[in-house]
């Protein structure tokens, strides 16, 4: 149990560092097309064990979001989007529940539920995250078109990154 906590805390710190020190600098679209943003740190919430109490997931999401915000100079933006995603997590988990239900000590990873399940699970939540993120960044529906475009393009590159992580590292928990 405690080794599980250590593992998750370690993973969270590592993901935040990779996000703010590496992926923050990546600009795939070139100077005139800032539509691709790679966000990998939502993985920290996606990979939490299913048994973690729901309010605790929200608090963890808030803390991670605020730390990332400090580095992005955008107080509240990442935190709000990540908390929104964490809020939807139990809903998506219920939607994708296998017929037998979730057994105790199960982890939302491809090695346990299959790659198709993981694609659906992480895809829906990541899309929700980006929609919240770019909507809150613009803070007005006037830029609806560019919000949607940014959401889709950033979602695609981040989704590929997150799936690659799942395939290459293939975590058991």
């Amino acid at each position: 149990m405690s080794s599980l906590i250590v593992k998750n805390v370690f993973r969270i710190i590592l993901l935040i560092l990779v996000q703010v020190l590496i992926f923050k600098q990546v600009n795939l679209g070139g100077p005139d097309f800032n539509y691709f943003q790679i966000m990998i740190y939502p993985l920290a919430i996606l990979l939490l064990p299913i048994d973690v109490p729901k309010p605790l997931v929200l608090l963890i999401a808030f803390a991670i979001g605020m730390i990332v915000d400090i580095f992005y100079d955008s107080p509240g933006l990442h935190a709000a989007s990540l908390v929104f995603m964490a809020f939807l997590r139990p809903v998506v988990l219920r939607m994708l529940m296998p017929d037998t239900g979730y057994v105790k000590n199960s982890y939302p990873v491809a090695s346990m539920f299959g790659l198709v399940w993981y694609l659906q699970y992480s895809g829906i939540l990541l899309l929700a995250f980006f929609l919240a993120y770019f909507s809150l960044e613009a803070f007005t529906p006037i830029y609806f078109g560019s919000i949607l475009l940014k959401t889709l393009l950033s979602f695609l590159v981040s989704f590929v990154t997150i799936i690659l992580h799942q395939i290459i590292i293939n975590p058991k928990s």
């Binding site: 100077p31 915000d69 400090i70 580095f71 955008s74 908390v83 809150l136």
Partner: protein, 270 residues
């Protein structure tokens, strides 16, 4: 009471969500106005230190380019000095003395709509809020918050910023804004319809705002548009400098700024 507690407990997931989102939105909305969150921004010592370390590593890769630009700037300054001493018979018209503080950009965002940057000099070096940041060949930003050793600044690529600028050839002025599309271009608005605007004209800063010294080149006019029914041009200005690769910047401030701000504020109060 027990029922109430049970109710709150049962929906604890939802309540936690609402409370946390409320906190986040509060932070988001007070983002541009309050100085209280200075410790949240990256002028905060801890993140400042981390960025500094990363920047030091990155600097080695950029040494050559930085050298080039410093050499170029040196040459230009030397040339300016020579012309100055040649013109020494003229009366001295420069009433204002400028304070110039060199510093380096250690964190620079260009991907968002309201971009910010962090520089590695703070109040100890004499940086003050609302100083202009310029570099060799263009303007860079405006200082927002200052801590002892770091300062945060609005990048000129910040959609909420308006900068006073003019067409150098005929002194028609307007406001320079960033439409949040392309980091190489800004837009000069409110230039009246009767002004003669030519492609290729240089756009420079004006003396109307105390933030930047006058006549600093910003960019050249690349596209002019006059929409029917409008009384002002919308002018696309290509920036001279590339905001995605800035390193050494100079914070400038006219010595007379406090006095000027005071009298301008008094005018607004009345």
């Amino acid at each position: 009471m027990q029922n109430l507690l049970r109710f709150i407990f049962r929906y604890s997931h939802f309540f936690t969500f609402v409370i946390l989102e409320a906190i986040c939105i509060y932070f988001l909305v007070s983002y541009n106005t309050s100085q209280k969150e200075i410790f949240i921004y990256s002028s905060n010592l801890v993140t400042g230190k981390i960025y500094n370390t990363v920047d030091e590593i990155r600097d080695y890769a950029q040494l050559e380019r930085v050298n080039d630009s410093i050499i170029r700037e040196n040459a230009r300054l030397k040339a300016a000095l020579l012309t100055l001493s040649a013109d020494s018979t003229l009366p001295d018209l420069s009433i204002t003395n400028y304070k110039v503080i060199p510093s380096r950009v250690i964190n620079n965002n260009i991907l968002g709509r309201n971009n910010m940057m962090t520089i590695d000099q703070g109040s100890d070096a004499g940086i003050q809020p609302s100083m202009g940041l310029i570099e060799d060949g263009g303007i860079v930003g405006i200082v927002k918050d200052v801590s002892q050793n770091y300062a945060t600044a609005y990048s000129i690529l910040n959609a909420s910023l308006m900068i006073s600028a003019k067409i150098d050839r005929n002194d028609h002025f307007g406001s320079l804004i960033w439409p949040a599309e392309d980091i190489r271009y800004m837009e000069l608005t409110s230039v009246p319809k009767h002004a003669e605007v030519r492609l290729g004209d240089t756009v420079t800063t004006t003396a109307y705002s105390a933030v930047f010294p006058p006549d600093i080149p910003i960019g050249i006019i690349e596209e002019v548009d006059l929409e029917p029914g409008r009384s002002d041009f919308s002018i696309r200005v290509k920036l001279f400098n590339d905001l995605s690769r800035i390193d050494v910047v100079y914070a400038v401030r006219a010595e007379t700024t406090p006095e000027r701000t005071e009298i301008e504020n008094r005018m607004e109060d009345e």
